[in-house]
Amino acid sequence: MKLSLKISLLIGAIALVIIPAIGFLSFSIAGKVIEERIHNEQGDLARQTLHEIDLRFHKGWENIHLLGKTSLVQEYVEGARKEKLTGLLKEQLVLTGPWDLLMVADTEGKILASTADTPFGNDINSYFPNAEAFYKALTGTPFATDAAISKVSGRPTIALASPIFDAKKERILGVVMGQVSWPVVMEILDGLRPEYNVLLINQKGEVIATRTRDRTAIFHNSLQNDHLFRRTAARKRGTFFETHAHAEEGQHLSSLTIQEGYLKYKGHGWRLLMEVPEVVAFAPVREMARNIGLAVGALLLLLAASVFFVVSRMTRPITHLRQTMAEVGRGHLQLRAKIATQDEVGQLAGAFNQMVEDLARARDEILRAKDYAENIITSMVDTLVVLNPDATIRTVNQATLDLLCYTEEELIGQPIGRILAEEEEEEEEEEALFKGTRLQTLLEEGAVRDHEVTYRTKYGETIPMSFSGAVMRDTHDAAHGAIVGIVGIAKDMRAVRRFMAEERKQAIELEVAYNALDEKTQRLERFQKVTVEGVLETLPLKAEINALLVKLGQPKKYKAPDKIRERRDRIKD
């Protein structure tokens, strides 16, 4: 695998570890801080929501207070001008509020005017769930009741009441009262993110407002037993948090914020309970962690790609060098590595090129030496056999192959017995050259000379050979001198033997001729004595003797007639 790929994969593997690790770390390290921030945000949102509700009621409270102070109202009440008063209230119904109901009662609680479509009754108790606000207002102070179901609209509402003074502000003429339209509260809750479960509860734990879609819960559900509600029951202000598990939706983050009122509208200590699944509340954190992880992952992958690109470029000379090395290894010593840079890689390429040059030179020398040796071996008339230490044939020369009618493949690796007739035939190891004690002797003495052996050709013909051999030892292992092989040269002795046989035969024939000559000479001498005068008559015999002598390479014994006369004279002497 390429180095660049390895590094890129390494970075990729690091990315695999780092992405979740960063996600986990960023989530866990920042988690506490962000959790607190989320708590604060939820608390702020709850306070803001309650504040909006308080503002609405404060506005209603101010409207009713102003209405109570309006001179027209005072005038109509004092003059008991019910129609005018009703018209005024209907006008106010559109201009202020929104109200479900506006009405004016005298100090006795009798209804003077009302915006109700049909009169419910003549006294205040017919319109309101309780007359608390009315009686409080009679004391001279505007008042707002807690939430309750209106007898007029059938919806939850709060009643606001303000006294109507006479012009001198000395006497209370009556009370102006209004029922706030409850949808304004639910509308505020509707404006919250849909992920939030939101409930407005009174101090008793009763649900007094929800989102519009959940309104059936109003005054039907109670959170009296809710842990967070009970825990904060005695508190007058603040925001409190709790995490709890839902059977189906998992962990939820709950906050309970206590109503504080606004200016003169003091509120009723209502609680705004907001609940959101943790997965939703912490979604920004998770998203942040995921985005960071993905960004880091993308960066790491980009880095891996960049590293791959850069390292690929950096290692290109190495790749080229490796390819050149492979080619050189295959014997292409003429190739040279490119030296593209002057750095360590460039220096390495230079050194390699130098090495290849030296190698080529050395190889040329070896080749020359080898050629020389091969020439010698090839040119040798005598046979050459090189044996391995286990007496198998390692090398043979062409003379051997020609003599024994084998191909090189048929002999290389074969035991020497393949070509030595005697090695197979000699039962006694003592007689075989490459067996037993003789081999031991050969190995010990290191050489053997003119040892007669018999080669056998591929076709079974035996050839007498004169074998001279020497043991080859590892010259690099001088200490042990391990045997690396045995080299042997054998000479075909058939011609020599034929010549010797011929010579022996001629010697025998010569001996026979000598013997015959000698006998005839003796006989002649004896005859000379008898037949001195008959020399002439012996001339043919002498000629015959001369011929025999010539044949034997000897000088003629009998000369020409002069010689014969000398001989006759000598005989006469």
Binding site: L9, G12, T96, G97, P98, D117, P194, R286, R290
Partner: protein, 339 residues
């Protein structure tokens, strides 16, 4: 190839990891509302508040939103289309708030989810040339479709000058036949809408003594659905409202092109189409935010509904005080804001 295996494994692991991570992430906001793909029959009508329907259709935005919308031409008989909507044969239509409340009193169970438009002069009280003001209508024969938006308009106009319906002689007529009725029945005044108003003024030398621009916000119109449809296909409704928002923004930003589309469909000049939109204001998201807020005045649909309720009680149409939160649903408009 072998070299590629670790890379492929690594890449697969990274992709799987990312997918796993994505799967773990809570879906705070989905890509868009989930639509059912079921057919949705929507009324089309040559009316500014309904321009958007045909523009959206031409632009292919319903389809883009995953809605299978079929437009129903209600121009031949708008009143019949209201009946069809109340009967559930048309899924959505542009209704006067007044009409919707009236239909609901008969059990139609319609819910308004968009305030499409606001009449700003489209309806008018047209009188003989001798009558110059509302006050002068006292004791006069006034032709109006009884129990209709037109009568409600007359009610509001009279209230403004301290009069009531009992102060005039009301003659029941069919509003579409107003010019004929005006002549044949020798009426002193009629209450009708554009383009009939302009026609009568031209052909019968009549006089416009009051139009809806004098009572702003009193005549809101909006897109209504049956409650059952909303409960069963809230995703479709949300997608529909989203398309409305997209289209009204387009109308605001490219009025020439938008009015050109309508002009081409109805064989009108773009100028005529645009002029029509002057007397019937096309409401946008910001207007809807205000309109769906709970308030007592005409700026709020709830306030307008209360006024209508007051009239109906006074006119004896009903004796019930209605809860406007039952038939005005702001959820879809709120969700458009969030998306």
């Amino acid at each position: 190839m072998k070299k590629l295996i670790p890379i492929l494994i690594l890449a697969a692991a990274v992709i799987a990891g990312v997918y796993w991570w994505q799967a773990q992430a809570p879906q705070l906001a989905e890509e868009g509302p989930k639509t059912s793909g079921l057919p949705m029959k929507i009324a089309k009508y040559y009316w500014p508040g309904s321009y958007w329907v045909e523009i959206a259709e031409q632009k292919g935005w319903f389809e883009e939103a995953g809605l299978n919308v079929e437009l129903i031409d209600t121009n031949p008989d708008y009143f019949a289309s209201q009946q069809a909507t109340a009967a559930g044969k048309i899924d959505s239509n542009d209704f006067y708030l007044f009409d919707m409340i009236k239909f609901n009193l008969t059990g139609a169970n319609l819910v308004m989810v968009i305030n499409n438009d606001q009449s700003a002069g489209a309806e008018a009280i047209v009188s003989k040339s001798g009558i110059a003001s509302i006050k002068e209508l006292q004791g006069k024969r006034v032709g109006v479709s009884k129990g209709s938006t037109m009568e409600y308009m007359l009610y509001l106009a009279l209230n403004k000058v301290g009069k009531n319906l009992n102060d005039i002689d009301i003659i029941g007529i069919v509003a579409e036949n107003a010019p004929t009725e005006f002549i044949e029945n020798n009426l002193d005044a009629i209450i009708t809408w554009e383009p009939i108003v302009s026609t009568i003024i031209k052909t019968h030398n009549a006089r416009k003594i009051l139009d809806t621009s004098h009572i702003p916000g009193a005549f809101p119109l909006g897109q209504v659905f049956k409650r059952q449809f909303i409960n069963e296909r809230p995703g479709d409704v949300q997608a529909f409202v989203n398309v409305w928002h997209r289209t009204t923004e387009f109308i605001k930003q490219h009025p020439k092109e938008a009015f050109g589309i309508i002009a081409k469909i109805y064989n009108k000049s773009p100028g005529e189409v645009q002029a029509f939109a002057q007397v019937d204001k096309i409401m946008d998201l910001a207007d809807n935010r205000t309109a769906f807020s709970y308030a007592a005045g005409f700026e709020s649909l709830h306030g307008a509904a209360r006024q209508i309720n007051d009239y109906m009680i006074e006119a004896g149409v009903t004796d019930k005080r209605l809860d406007s939160t039952e038939f005005l649903n702001a959820d879809f408009i709120r969700n458009v804001e969030r998306e």
